[in-house]
Amino acid sequence: MMWSWIPENGSQIWQLTQENIYLGLAPALYGLLLSLPLGILAARWRWFYPPVLTVTNILYAVPSLALFIALIPSLGLTDTNVIVALTVYSLCVILPNVVAGLRSVPEDVRQAATAMGYGPLRRLITVELPLAGPVIIGGLRVGVVSSISLASVGQLIGVSSLGYLFVDGEQRDFPTEIYVGIAGVIALALACDLILVLLRRLMTPWMRERKGPAGKVAAPEGAPELAGSIT
């Protein structure tokens, strides 16, 4: 480990970190924006969800590098290629949480809202989505972490990120660079995750004093393990 290498290359590491942040957050955000309408429809019409889930699971099973390569003919060796691919993965992990979150809204609360004269849209926006929020953010956390980590794979098709440090370090047989790349990706993922946890706390003042398992964010079932398998 050559510690002096880090400050000497500080500006390049910072540059790569910024690129990695962009490649990690943009897909998670797009994934969320796509998951919301799909999840709302799936929560409303039960028949709609199983086929959608099947499609997203199949997409999720495609290795990331294969998906990047498959997108080259249409999108080339660009940021867009990586963002589109990672958006698909984000969608796959966020969507189940949107559905689970909306389904977790207690039936008596939904019914009370209707009975008091909420229209369906207003009820969705002011009652159901806020209550589903913690579970949705739980999915978003997995989406962000996996996107940040998968973004480095984009380096293999030449899209710059902290992944550059792995590839370059390997080619130059220089372990320090590889270690810095790995530590950077992990630190970045943890930082983003922490920010989302804080965001959830801010958005859910009503859960702050709640004790016990009800206050925990429900992790998407199976998603973390799956995310591990393709990274």
């Binding site: 207690p106 019914q111 009370a112 008091m116 004269g117 806020p130 009503w206």
Partner: protein, 423 residues
């Protein structure tokens, strides 16, 4: 006024939840829909605010067909309370209560001010305004649910098993509060319950459903208890309906005797000279009951000892002569070691004692009179309504809306006399 006209609800699978229901809910009264689960009572309730749409027939709210009104607007004009309160977990108590006023366009600050008034109305502390629902007990949540339903002052209140999820003690006090609240607000209330006791307690009228969506009997509680339409109704209201019916007979008519009542300052010697073969003496302090002393216990005590120093037995509870029922008086006699009920005034001062024999005579008289009222046609109604007046007058005179029971007592006489005139 809510009117069901031949309302039927049939589900696509052929299940009939409600069959050709005709029912009038008079304005300002509490109508309880009661019956076994699956009898269509909740379906009937939900058709009023169109959470469920009827298959046939129509429901009129003040003469207007509810299906011809805008759904959201209709619902904002009808209060709705459900079993688990259904409070919004992500909103504070005051914002929960402010829900409908805000939907109706009231500014948030005005709606919150209104919410705080409602908190006081349902007997909750102002400190709770900024709490979240999960920080409240079940009973408090249910009170907030009632406050939320009443916040926009709707003329109609629908309550779907409102007290089923709380423990019996809290349920009892919530029922008492509902009765007191209703005496003050005069809403048209439709309340669904499977608990006949609750129906009898809070209802001005009860609609008892058969298991499959038809009504077995509609009428004031004392009519269901006193003259069940058939064996189904008799079974449903229960085998002790004879005793429960006494809840509707005021204790005002009981003869009261004060021969056994002695002040605490009375000496043992004085008490002995009064002995007329009684076994128990009621000792009072400040005119209020202190305890029962068995006469045999006086033997061997110094003659100048005041009765306040003689060990006494607890007296259980007394009954308020002006406002409570024969049932309370009977219960007081059963729980008393002396087998005698203590009658007190509104301030708890002893007015006199009623023995089992007095109670038996009063119960027999009440049953005869009630049978006459229920059996009597318009021709015999005169005598019945006179009797009603005799019973009702002191109730109104002595306890103007003091206790929830007083309210029940007052309203008793109306259905009873109308029952006499109607058939």
């Amino acid at each position: 006024m809510i009117t069901f006209e031949r309302v039927t609800k049939r589900y696509p699978d052929g299940t009939v939840a409600v069959h050709a229901l005709d029912l009038d809910v008079p304005a300002g009264q509490t109508m309880v829909l009661v019956g076994p689960s699956g009898c269509g009572k909740t379906t009937s309730l939900r058709m009023i605010n169109r959470l469920i749409e009827p298959t046939e027939g129509r429901i009129l709210l003040d003469g207007q067909d509810v299906r011809k009104q805008d759904q959201a607007r209709l619902r904002r004009g009808i209060g709705y309370v459900i079993q688990q309160a259904g409070l919004f977990p992500h909103r504070t108590v005051q914002d929960n209560i402010a829900t409908v006023p805000v939907l109706l366009g009231t500014s948030r600050s005005a709606a919150r001010a209104r919410a705080r008034e409602m908190l006081a109305l349902v007997g909750l502390d102002q400190d709770l305004a900024t709490r979240y629902p999960h920080q409240l007990s079940g009973g408090q949540q249910q009170r907030v649910g009632v406050a939320r339903a009443l916040a926009a002052d709707p003329p109609v209140l629908l309550m779907d098993e409102p007290f089923s999820a709380v423990d019996p003690l809290v349920r009892g006090s919530l029922q008492d509060e509902l009765i007191a609240l209703q005496a003050q607000l005069h809403k048209t209330i439709v309340l669904v319950t499977h608990d006949i006791e609750e129906a009898i307690k809070v209802g001005d009228r009860i609609a008892l459903f058969h298991p499959h969506g038809t009504i077995a009997q509609v009428g004031p509680p004392e009519e269901l208890l006193g003259a069940p339409a058939d064996s189904y109704v008799a079974d449903f209201v229960g085998f002790d309906r004879g005793i429960r019916r006494l809840s509707f007979v005021p204790a005002t008519g009981l003869p009261l005797d004060d021969g056994l009542v002695l002040d605490a300052a009375t000496t043992v010697e004085q008490a002995r000279t009064r002995d007329q073969g009684e076994q128990w003496l009621l000792v009072t302090a400040d005119s209020r009951p202190a305890g029962w002393v068995p006469v045999e216990r006086l033997a061997g005590l110094p003659g100048d000892m005041p009765l306040s120093q003689v060990p006494a037995e607890g007296f259980g509870h007394a009954f308020i002569v002006g406002s409570e029922s024969l049932r309370v008086a009977l219960d007081a006699a059963v729980l008393s070691p002396a087998g005698v009920a203590i009658g007190v005034d509104g301030d708890g001062r002893v007015l006199g004692l009623a023995s089992f024999e007095d109670l038996r005579a009063a119960i027999t008289a009440a049953s005869k009179q009630e049978l006459a009222v229920l059996a009597g046609g318009p021709g015999q109604g005169v005598g019945a309504s006179q009797d009603d007046d005799v019973i009702t007058e002191p109730v109104i005179g002595e306890e103007p809306g003091g206790q929830p029971q007083a309210v029940t007592g007052q309203e008793d006489s109306q259905p009873a006399s109308s029952a006499g005139a109607a058939p």
